[in-house]
Symmetry: C2
Subunit: 269 residues, 2 copies
DNA sequence: AAGTGGTCTAGACCACTTT
DNA sequence: AAGTGGTCTAGACCACTTC
């Protein structure tokens, strides 16, 4: 019987048929061994499969029983690992169907990264207008935030989002050029649906977490013109850094929100 | 053996010695029966004990084994109930010690409701200056948000918070007068520590959840003077509604944040 | 009927804390 | 040594979905 806090032999033995990539994962390689709980090791292995694209967003992952057999642990241990992954929104469980890789194409994921809500009425998707898409050398600040070298290639995007015909959000994005190689204005314009959906389907990069720093700033002249408001109107400045697997930053986004008819909704719990 | 989705006889039988308040809880009273999972019923019962003050913030609650015996279920079922309560920050588990009722006096709880962070340096507690404390009839809007009748008694508090001597936050609070009966300016001024800590210890009301609506607004003349900034300087407007057990609203807070040296930090995950 | 995740149990042992 | 929460197992049955 496998005991707590002891490495599962099936997981640490590369010659075992339990798993194919034993010894390459975080808690399984390197010295000294970490002796994390078994379910954490399983969780790491599943996360690696998600990261590697073995199971893609929207797809079904193996059943709990199958994973338990593969990893030579009980179903309960696999269950606990998947429970945590579900709590982190990396997978979605569906009773009777199975467990699926989370995707930004699902309706339930739309408002996790869009916190601007109309003061009255139901939230709905904005109209996007791409202003500019170009490649450039990463400014020092952006390079630092993206964990790149200053001058490395980045894709720069500028767009305006309108609700009911009223321009409300103006934002600029910087993405690592290496990852988003074929990203063009045409592709962005013709694509229907959430931008993070495009990123995960076309570029194999799924945003799983983000941090935002919010400030109040006055509208500059160019911004005021685009948003059709008076110069110096207070706007919400939202600087977002998005991360994919392994806490790797893959997007810097600087947005200005007009909050005359919308507000940033946040729930503290 | 108790089956899934079937009411636990020990929980639904008032004459049982399993629990003293059987029949009074949400899933246990009323018709038709809800047939929620056992662990959800246990969770409800524990929440009721928290709400009733049977176990107060900071105190130790009965062990899993003891609760399992009391409720006539297995330890695993109690564990799952407590796991969810811990995830909701209602209790805190400490290995080897036991499970404790969460409290706003703990250091770990300080920054759950204070999202304003300094742009540089470590976060630290602000200096509080009480401007005004008085009783008044609830304005219509406040009454609506607090689920009270317009004109009901509320406690009104106005204060300024400074970081490193720089006035940064000006906020106004409305609290139900019935709950916060003995709240005076003196008590607020002499009290050291987080205000929610005072609320939970002195008034038996623990804030467990809040929603915030954030906008950018220009500083009015009186606000500008208090914050020592120019009129019309953009400020973050944060309207918070706090809830205690049973999703009962117990605080309306309208704050203005100066974001020249601070930002509102939010993590999307 | 078969397969999936969801619930519940009983028992074992481990890590941590206090006595 | 005793008590607590933390991990792991094995087995049972339930609810839901698909075949």
């Amino acid at each position: 019987m496998v005991k707590s806090w002891v490495m599962n032999p099936a997981l640490s033995n590369p010659s075992s048929n339990a798993i194919s990539n034993a010894g390459t994962g975080t808690p399984l390689s390197g010295l000294p061994p970490t002796f994390s709980p078994l379910y954490q090791q399983i969780k790491s292995l599943i996360t690696q499969s998600l990261q590697s694209g073995e199971w893609k967003p929207g797809e079904l992952i193996p059943s709990e029983m199958e994973l338990a057999t593969r990893f030579k642990v009980s179903q309960g241990t696999v269950r606990k690992a998947i429970d945590e992954l579900a709590a982190e929104n990396l997978v979605v469980r569906r009773q009777g169907k199975g467990t699926f890789v989370a995707s930004h194409h699902e309706a339930r994921a739309q408002y996790r990264f869009l916190k601007l809500m109309p003061d009255v009425g139901e939230p709905h998707s904005p109209d996007n207008k791409i202003i500019e898409v170009k490649r450039l050398r990463a400014p020092a600040e952006v390079a630092r935030l993206l964990d790149m070298k200053s001058g490395d290639s980045v894709v720069f995007i500028k767009r305006i989002q309108s609700f009911d015909g009223i321009p409300t959000i103006i934002e600029e994005l910087w993405l690592p050029g290496l990852i988003f190689k074929g990203l063009t204005a045409e592709r962005l314009i013709e694509y229907k649906g959430p931008m993070y959906g495009l990123f995960e389907t076309e570029f194999g990069t799924r945003m799983i977490r983000a941090t935002e720093k919010i400030r109040a700033v006055p509208a500059a002249k160019d911004v005021a013109e685009l948003l059709e408001i008076a110069v110096d109107t207070p706007l919400l400045s939202v600087e977002r850094i998005s991360f994919t697997y392994g806490d790797k930053p893959v997007e810097v986004r600087r947005a200005l929100y007009s909050t005359s008819q919308h507000h940033y909704q946040n729930d503290l719990s």
